[in-house]
């Protein structure tokens, strides 16, 4: 992250796509940035957090993406260049404010960065293609394909935003965000960090009939940006296309797969690489396809560009054969193999290497899966274990978004449904309302999720009366996305110490009568508390408060403190397997019928020590 700031203009640095976005913003005079962490976008915020103070700009982790967008809008309306970033689902959260802001426009540049996650590497809930937002929100969209472009496109986005006074969307995907590449650095630009909102400008007072005027203006702006797009170097043609019969249209990460595949097959088909993907450079596309016999659109996920090419071809070249999703999947991410296979079919060329055979040989290896799981010593594991002991197999275990989603796997299985941040709360309330048996139900929410979207649902439970148990898994950090601060821990994105917002006090303030903070590493107390609260006729809340174990371990290492490590006394072990089969700790293994704790993996939480009925687990004596 340091090279984002320290390297000089003219230097070459290796940057993650996400880091290059930040460098691009700094080269554009950004003065204000905000984010809510979400993979694959997280490192944009993290990089701002790391450099903001030194760069003399403001950065915050806002409590959710809607707020993150709104604070950036506030800064941009006051004349300070701003950037806001989040993952694809974050744009859904922010969308309610996003649409009217597009109408009203901004004063200084506002760049919105959204990172999609084809293949769901870090997103359980859907393979959302955020490109559709460009059309519905009327937002110009840029799609870089590598780190260098991430930086350059960010600069262009600020230019366009400032010129046309509207926000610009940069859409990334995991392979762009999380690929490191060489970036040639430009001059840093010191922009305004302070500005004042002019309350006499009426254009921000979104209200009819003026809103019809701004809507009209917005379409006019898009028309002008389309003209720029037609002339822009961001939409370029590679290879000679004058006499070609087959051409390719692509953009983003797919562009790289196309270039590699063409090179492997020794083809020099023309490639129209789009950088500005909304508004579509219609004339550029028409010109490109006019004399072709076949055009192949290579895009990940939905057929957004392919559909547009079909529409344009009716006028430009009705006889052309248009391919795309007939050769490529509409789910999962693309790669060289998939694009190469499609190009072999289209071109009739072949490679010597048998991809199918190789895959088949590999699949024959039947390698046992290694699923993501809660870390050794994770406090969530202890809470889940206690919940299952206390609530039994018939209770409802509401799941949500965070590390604790990993409780979905056996043996814990405490995430019965998972939809979106905070969704759990409303869903359990609905289930409770229609349950004829007053079924026991537990809502699991992380600390960050509680602040993000959990609170409205909790107020609804109180107001509309149901009696679930809410367990806030307060591990003192936003862990899954890489340990970002949140309101419960008293630190801001700039590293400033602020008053901690006590979840317990918030719940009491709402009027929850049964509220208790319990340490998940006190297994007996946790089980007893859950049992007690599940019998209540009103809603109740347990704050399961214990720091993320990774942080504890890191701090201990730094301070030279040794955490306890546990071992199994083989003489006392009766091999009932509770330690392994009920908690699934990665540090506990079994070989040839013997249970063992891997000392190098044990993080010393003591859960296994507490639950072993034979007292066969002991602290390793140094």
């Amino acid at each position: 992250m340091s090279s984002v700031l320290s390297s000089k203009a003219g230097d070459k640095a290796i940057l993650l796509g996400n880091e290059a976005i930040v460098r691009g913003a700094l080269e554009s005079g950004v003065g204000f940035a905000s984010s809510y962490p979400g993979t694959p976008a997280s490192e944009i915020g993290d990089t701002f957090a790391a450099v903001a103070k030194k760069a003399g700009i403001y950065f915050e982790y806002s409590v959710n993406e809607k707020v993150a967008l709104e604070v950036a809008v506030g800064a941009a309306l006051s004349g300070v260049r701003s950037l806001v970033s989040f993952k694809h689902f974050g744009l859904n959260v922010a969308s309610d404010s996003f649409f009217p802001v597009m109408y009203a426009g901004v004063k200084a540049g506002l760049v919105v960065v959204v990172a999609d996650d084809p293949n769901c590497w870090s997103s359980g809930q859907s393979e959302q293609d955020s490109r559709y937002y460009a059309r519905i929100a009327h937002v110009p969209m840029l799609e870089p394909s590598d780190s260098e472009e991430c930086k350059e496109f960010t600069k262009l986005a600020f230019e366009l935003s400032e010129k046309f006074k509207i926000p610009i969307l940069i859409r990334l995907t995991t392979r762009v965000s999380h690929t490191k590449g060489i970036v040639k650095l430009g001059e840093m630009k010191k922009g305004k960090t302070k500005g004042e909102f002019d309350r006499h400008s009426i254009r921000f007072r979104s209200f009819p009939p003026q809103i019809l005027e701004t809507h009209k203006e917005l379409h006019e702006k898009l028309r002008k940006i389309r003209e720029i797009s037609e002339r822009s170097e961001m939409n370029l043609i590679l290879n000679e296309y004058k006499k070609a019969e087959t051409g390719i249209i692509t953009f983003g990460a797919s562009f790289n797969y196309v270039m590699d595949s063409l090179s492997i097959l020794g083809l020099n088909w023309p490639v129209l690489k789009l950088g500005i993907t909304y508004p579509f450079p219609e004339q550029t596309i028409k010109k490109f396809i006019r004399d072709l016999k076949i055009v192949f659109v290579v895009e990940e996920l939905e057929d957004v560009v392919e559909e547009k090419v079909r529409e344009l071809a009716k006028d430009a070249n009705p006889k052309i054969k248009i391919s795309g999703k007939d050769f490529l999947p509409a789910s999962g991410e693309l790669n060289v193999e998939k694009v190469l296979t499609a190009l072999m079919k289209i071109s009739g060329r072949k490679i010597k290497f048998d991809l199918g055979k190789h895959s088949a040989e590999f699949n024959k290896l039947k390698i046992p899966a290694r699923k993501p799981m809660l870390c050794p010593g994770c406090p969530h594991r202890a809470t889940f274990y206690a919940a299952k002991v206390a609530a039994g197999p018939n209770a409802i275990y509401g799941g949500d978004i965070g590390c604790y989603v990993l409780g979905v796997f056996p043996p814990l299985e405490t995430q019965d449904f998972i939809f979106s941040m905070g969704a759990n709360v409303g869903i359990v309330h609905g289930m409770k309302k229609v349950s004829a048996s007053n079924r026991k139900a537990i809502i699991f929410l992380g600390d960050s999720t509680f602040f993000h979207a959990g609170m409205p649902g909790l107020i609804n439970i109180l107001y509309n009366k149901s009696n679930p148990l809410v367990i806030i898994l307060d591990n003192r950090i936003t862990a899954m996305t890489g340990h970002q601060p949140n309101p419960s821990m008293g630190k801001t994105g700039m590293g400033e110490t602020v008053e901690e917002i006590s979840i317990e006090n918030v719940m009491k303030g709402f009027g929850v009568k049964n509220v208790k903070t319990v340490d998940p590493f006190n297994v007996k107390e946790m089980i007893a508390s859950i049992k007690e609260f599940l019998d209540k006729n009103e809603p109740s809340v347990i704050v399961a408060k214990r720091e993320c174990r990774l942080l504890t371990v890191r701090r201990a290492r730094k301070e030279g403190i040794k955490l306890p490590v546990f071992e199994i006394d083989q003489k006392k072990c009766k091999k009932n397997g509770i330690c392994l089969e009920q908690i699934g700790c990665p540090a506990i293994t079994k070989e040839n019928g013997t249970y063992k704790i891997e000392k190098d993996l044990c993080n010393g939480c003591s859960l296994c020590f507490q639950i072993c009925p034979n007292k066969a687990i002991l602290v390793v004596k140094e």
Partner: protein
């Protein structure tokens, strides 16, 4: 640059490296060192990583590609020149990227991190010997080392396994980059107070080769 023969003749002077292992094993640090060294030698380079959900105890394959001009950061199946496995089962999973045609070399550490899903679902974790034998169809050679053992003995931490394997690969000329650029890159990437120990373990790896 590597001039190894390849399956399709015309291109592929790019060097393709897969680093396989489990979260927390220093995979990204290793990738960063190699990428930085490639940049110092005037090459184009890309690395591909995955963060977030997949990082929590899941397998983390990291790809490093360098050469004259690199497009995709992800290596195609069968196209790795070298697989560095910080964990044996993950080295085996990376067999997808290896092939006899490409003369892929596998260098792996023998310390096994057994996924608890194997235990709860009663699957078997193959022995290192079995893994090496399975790798035969996907490589020209595989070398299993007790790098973590050396790291633990010499530096009291398995964290240094990565630089031991790096030293071994550089010594064996399995990575077509100069030792001096690797050391320079290590200086840049590794925090100062850990540099000397990393260098020591790196040299031990080189000696082993």
């Amino acid at each position: 640059m590597s001039e190894q023969s390849n399956t399709r003749g015309e291109r592929m002077k790019d060097f393709n490296l897969v680093i396989a292992g489990v979260g927390g094993q220093g995979i990204l640090t290793l990738a960063n060192i190699i990428a930085e060294a490639a940049l110092m030698e005037g090459l184009d380079v890309k690395t591909s990583e995955l963060h977030g959900l997949s990082q929590r105890g899941g397998p983390i394959p990291c790809h490093v590609r360098f050469g004259k001009k690199i497009y995709s950061s992800v290596i195609m199946q069968g196209e790795a020149n070298l697989v560095v496995g910080l964990e044996p089962l993950e080295a085996l999973r990376a067999a997808y990227f290896g092939s006899k045609e490409r003369k892929t070399a596998f260098v792996l550490d023998t310390w096994r991190i057994v996924p608890s899903s194997i235990l709860t679902q009663k699957e078997a974790y193959p022995s290192v010997k079995e893994i090496e034998s399975k790798l035969k169809d996907f490589s020209s050679k595989s070398i299993a080392l007790n790098a973590s053992g050396v790291a633990k003995k010499e530096a009291e931490s398995v964290v240094y396994t990565n630089v031991y394997l790096l030293g071994y690969c550089v010594g064996k000329k399995l990575i077509p980059l100069q030792k001096s650029s690797i050391i320079e890159a290590m200086k840049k990437i590794i925090p100062e107070k850990y540099f000397e120990m990393n260098r020591k373990i790196f040299e031990l790896g080189m000696k082993k080769s």
